[in-house]
């Protein structure tokens, strides 16, 4: 019976990134995927004839350019198109737009407040400073601060030096930034509600926190670390939908000799004598591998796929305590014509970017209060995009695919599981919010897919439907991610590794966890890593 060098559980983007790097290091790698499609949460699916849906993740920015280059993804069809703008439509019939042009952006803010328009410079500078500090850490393995191993010590020294290179004032500012709520942080710069609401949204997307929760300023950073072709902080669409990312990865993987098996759900990891030896598929088939890498989240991996007896108590306890609360839902819509938003100028560039209706931080926070009470938000926050305005490949000319990311949406409703009726009511809340700003919207709907945390867990395998495979709070970042003592992609079981978003540096279609895990695995195997680019310089 064949023994693979490595078996990757899950053909999500991180699993595929990991697989690519291992395969290119000369390993014989198998990726097993439970669904009959690949891509995990980065997929394009034709859910209704003629419309391609990015039905899970929907925008691309965080994906590391180093990885795109190493794995030759452009050659395999990946192309990212930048947003043209964005807007919040306000309740008084006006809007706040975000423009790419610096001066137009300033004048747009000045329409609301001359002060805020001129405050943006200092705000941007301060956020950029924080970004520059954190960005180089994305492609490094977090050190274990309790360890005296030379590598951990030298990595700690690296961090220490980076920190010590700052002035006392910068250190204080950094500590403040990391612990503040995005709302309090923005209050120090801006006076206008809608401006704060627009800027705050990056502080909450994907988290089970409200804009007034401490720590959300850091979350903002997590969303600002992306870039589209060197334009840092920019967001864009993957041409052909988010599936183009994983399709390119899969093609790259196969081109280098790797194998992918779909409809191969892993029932458990085969562990013998404390070592991972392969996986057992549903149906009982054993597939042998010299090592196993799980792209599933840490709870799924260790509470479902590995037998309890193989894991030490403190580890299990920490895994059980891992916070992985789903907070978002998605409503994916096929439209037979371009919706109208009368508040926006005709053919506004904002239509080719992100649209929102939450015009105050208070509304955003109240939406979160609903979630805390285990209800979906009555007045939800929407991050709405129509990739087809820039990408002709996803629908016929004149037709549009609209992705609505919705916050907040709890994993359970009033303490019980979601029902189909709940799901429909949730969708109605979203549609009616859009229809308030877009007359005739309902009539344009051809097809709709509604995903609550229930569907995200069942279909994509994300525990509780958390899109980041675990909250991005301090207790689950850096050397604490996913759990203290196991933040270096290894697990208590020899030969079993983690490479999903549960690991450092966390979620988003970034690829860094998959890449970093590959680096650690190759280190253990004493294999060269010359095919892996160093993190790009931040100069």
């Amino acid at each position: 019976m064949k023994t693979y060098d490595a078996i990757i559980i899950g053909a999500g983007h991180n699993g595929l990134v990991n697989a690519c790097y291992l395969q290119r290091a000369g390993l014989d790698v198998l990726v097993v995927e439970k669904n009959d499609w690949i891509g995990g949460a980065a997929v394009s699916r034709e859910l209704t004839p003629g419309f391609l849906y990015s039905n899970c993740s929907y925008v691309c920015s965080l994906f590391r350019p180093e990885i795109m280059r190493d794995l030759e993804l452009p050659k395999h069809g990946l192309q990212v198109i930048a947003y043209e703008g964005g807007a919040v439509l306000t309740q008084d019939g006006d809007y706040l737009a975000s423009y790419r042009d610096h001066d137009a952006h300033r004048r747009e803010y000045a329409r609301w407040s001359p002060r805020d328009a001129e405050a943006y410079e200092r705000y941007a500078r301060d956020v950029t400073r924080q970004c520059r500090f954190i960005q180089p850490l994305l492609m490094r393995t977090a050190p274990d601060p309790t360890s005296f191993r030379p590598r951990d010590v030298s990595e700690l020294v690296y961090l220490g030096r980076k920190f010590a290179g700052l002035s006392a004032q910068e250190m204080a500012e950094m500590l403040r930034f990391w612990t503040m709520s995005i709302s309090d942080f923005l209050d120090e710069y801006f006076e206008t509600d809608v401006i704060k609401a627009y800027l705050a949204l990056s502080g909450i997307i994907g988290t089970a926190l409200g804009p007034m929760s401490p720590g959300t300023a850091y979350v903002l950073l997590h969303h600002y670390m992306g870039e589209v072709d060197g334009s840092v902080g920019a967001w864009g669409y993957a041409r052909g939908g988010m599936g183009a990312v994983t399709r390119a990865l899969a093609d790259s993987f196969r081109a280098s000799g790797g194998t992918i098996r779909t409809e191969a759900e892993v029932e458990r990891v085969l562990v013998k004598g404390g070592e991972a030896k392969g996986v057992v598929l549903a149906g009982g088939e054993e597939v042998l591998g010299r090592l196993v890498v799980s792209n599933a989240d840490v709870k799924r991996t260790f509470l479902k796929l590995v037998e309890e007896k193989e894991l030490p108590d403190p580890f299990l306890r920490r895994v059980r305590n891992f916070k992985i609360r789903g907070s978002s839902g998605k409503v994916n819509i096929a439209l037979d014509s371009m919706p109208e938003f009368p508040a926006l100028p005709k053919d506004s560039p904002c239509l080719r970017g992100d649209l929102h209706f939450t015009d105050s931080v208070e509304r955003m926070e109240r939406a979160y209060d609903d979630w805390k009470a285990e209800r979906w938000s009555a007045d939800p926050f929407l991050d709405m995009v129509m990739p087809t305005t820039l990408d002709p490949t996803m629908a016929a000319p004149g037709k549009h695919f609209m992705s609505c990311f919705v916050q907040y949406c709890p994993p359970k409703v009033d303490g019980r599981d979601w029902t189909d009726a709940d799901r429909d009511a949730f969708a109605e809340t979203v549609i009616s919010q859009i229809a308030d700003y877009s007359p005739g919207f309902r009539d344009r709907i051809v097809h709709m897919e509604v995903r609550t945390p229930r569907e995200l867990e069942a279909e994509v395998g994300l525990t509780e439907g958390n899109i980041f495979q675990g909250e991005l709070t301090f207790d689950q970042l850096l050397f604490n991610r996913p759990v203290p003592g196991y933040a270096q992609y290894r697990s208590p079981v020899n030969g079993l590794y983690m490479c999903g978003s549960s690991t450092h540096p966390g979620g988003g279609v970034m690829g860094a966890p998959g890449r970093n895990a590959a680096a650690e695995i190759l280190r253990d195997l004493k294999k060269p890593t010359k095919h892996m680019s160093e993190a790009h310089d931040v100069i």
Binding site: P145, T146, S167, A168, Q169, M171, A172, E173, L175, R176, F177, T179, M180, D184, D187, E188, L209, M212, S213, P214, G215, P314, R318, N321, K323, E362, E365, R366, D369, K372, A373, T473, F474, D475, F479, N480, P484, G485
Partner: protein, 519 residues
């Protein structure tokens, strides 16, 4: 004209401590108090004929042993030994949970598994507090120019962190910035206990128990000690007034001049240096240094004034979040109330209404939008049980901290206050049936009232939110985090400075030491 070495603005406990420590070093010190008497937020207040309470601080739980020692308070009539009071977490339906000894050394009312969980959590928290405690006692580390002793102290913290062991350190680095609700949920199930811990963590701050970093409030609480009991609490003999009386006596014994009814209108600055103060009546008093033991915003925005400050510094000062969330309630009752399920003796303890962690979170939600909690959480003491002189015979005084009451209520407190009082009494009724009918008189102080009465901007008893971005060298703001300020000769000594509020005396003591070290 007499001239002084140091002028201390504000005769609250921190002002008195600072003045005494300075005087003890042989300096001539003047304390200027705006009100009729010293004591600030800890002074006594007669809110109804014959009924008296301690104005704001109503339980002693963190008076620092070094302060007791430096001021020799034990020799001045303050007894702190052996009087730790229990905490009763009221649970109208399930029956109360009672924490005895120093913060629940033993607990009544828990299931076996919760009792074990609590013992584990308590021990863990105290181990972690042990790491933080030295940081909360000393001047915040000055990252720019660390003195040898500061480096050693920081090294000591690192060492005590190592002493937690590998797993202990991992727990600590994980938990430090967590929310209190998640942490307690990992150890205990009992709603009343989790509610109490949630309440204690967020008492006095604009956070809910599910807000990240809220565990820090609990660490802060547990870092206090009294009479050697870590996490302990007490009502000293003679009430909180006795603490102030002892401090006042300590100051006078060291030759400090204390002038009441002497509000300062301005700090005199010449060539960037503080050289004295001007009183409201125009009197000018000069000194080598000025120590402000009042609110940092008042100190800079009002007494120093923007013209002597840099815009950037003033901006930081005005950005300090200090909108209070706690209302003070005084009730004159015609008899001792009876809280359901609470033993008669335990009524002299600290009674907390926080039925669950989520109840505290729900109470917090409206405060974010300038609304009060329809079902507020509160901490209650009946001080007249320990000190009968506070109420006429047979009658009783109830003193409570009620959360959440926003500083700026939508629609204004004039209209809102009667409604809020009604909500509070309804909440009291749930735990002490019939209490409403025994109320002879009541006084409810919202943060806006506290601001006006105690000259605390925002009515915030810590003089600034005690959250990580406003702690250590960033308390009250970076650039004034080490008691000294951008103005030469001007020092801060109040709760707005590191380590923060509560009747600890630490800011006052550290500020005085800083003044002495700089000469």
């Amino acid at each position: 004209m007499t001239s002084f070495d140091d002028i201390v603005i504000g005769g609250g406990h921190n002002g008195l401590v600072a003045a005494t420590v300075l005087a003890k070093a042989g300096r001539k010190v003047l304390v200027l108090e705006a009100e009729d008497e010293t004591g600030g937020a800890a002074r006594k207040h007669e809110f109804h004929p014959g009924f008296r309470v301690s104005s704001v601080a109503h339980v002693l739980n963190r008076l620092h042993p070094d302060v007791v020692k430096a001021l020799e308070l034990d020799r001045l009539g303050l007894t702190l030994e052996g009087r730790t009071m229990p905490t009763i977490a009221l649970a109208p339906d399930a029956g109360p949970v009672v924490l005895r000894g120093a913060y629940g050394e033993t607990v009544d009312g828990l299931s076996l598994s919760d009792a074990a969980g609590w013992a584990e959590l308590r021990a863990l928290l105290f181990r972690q507090v042990g790491v933080l405690k030295p940081l909360l006692a000393r001047r915040a580390p000055d990252l720019e120019a660390m003195s040898l002793s500061e480096k050693l102290a920081l090294g000591g913290v690192a060492l005590s962190l190592r002493r937690l062991g590998k797993e202990g350190m991992r727990d600590f680095l994980r938990m430090l910035l967590m929310n209190v609700d998640d942490v307690t949920g990992e150890f205990v199930e009992n709603d009343a206990l989790r509610g109490l811990l949630a309440f204690d963590a967020v008492q006095g701050s604009h956070l809910g128990p599910r807000s990240p970093t809220s565990l820090i409030g609990l660490y802060f609480r547990l870092a206090g000690e009294i009479g050697g009991a870590e996490g302990g609490q007490m009502l000293p003999k003679g009430g909180m007034g006795a603490v102030i009386e002892a401090m006042h006596a300590a100051a006078e014994r060291r030759g400090v001049t204390i002038r009441a009814k002497a509000p300062v209108s301005r700090i005199l600055i010449e060539k960037g240096r503080a050289v004295g103060v001007v009183l409201a009546d125009g009197e000018e008093i000069r000194a080598r240094t000025v120590v402000s033991a009042i609110n940092p915003r008042t100190t800079f925005a009002d007494l120093v004034g923007p013209r002597e400050l840099d815009t950037g510094f003033l901006r930081k000062i005005l950005n300090v979040r200090m909108k209070g969330n706690v209302a003070r309630l005084y009730l004159a009752l015609d008899g001792v109330p009876s809280f359901a399920g609470v033993a008669a003796d335990d009524h002299a303890g600290r009674l907390v209404i926080a039925p669950s962690s989520n109840a505290v979170e729900n109470a917090f939600n409206p405060a974010k939008y300038g609304e009060f909690s329809p079902e507020p959480a509160m901490e209650i003491v009946l001080p007249s049980l320990s000190d009968p002189s506070l109420a006429p015979g047979g009658a009783c005084v109830l003193s409570a901290n009620v959360q959440f009451a926003p500083y700026a209520l939508k629609g204004g407190w004039d209209k809102g206050k009667p409604k809020f009082l009604k909500a509070i009494v309804a909440q009291l009724e749930r735990c002490a049936k019939g209490i409403g009918k025994t109320i002879l008189a009541s006084e409810l102080l919202t943060p806006a009232d506290i601001e006006a009465r105690f000259r605390m901007p925002g009515g915030h008893w810590h003089h600034g939110e005690l959250q990580p971005d406003q702690m250590l060298m960033s308390r009250p703001v970076f650039g004034a985090g080490g008691y000294d300020t951008p103005i030469d000769g001007l020092y801060l000594a109040g709760a707005g400075s590191h380590p923060g509020g509560g009747v600890s005396g630490v800011p006052g003591m550290n500020a005085a030491r800083r003044v002495l070290a700089e000469k």
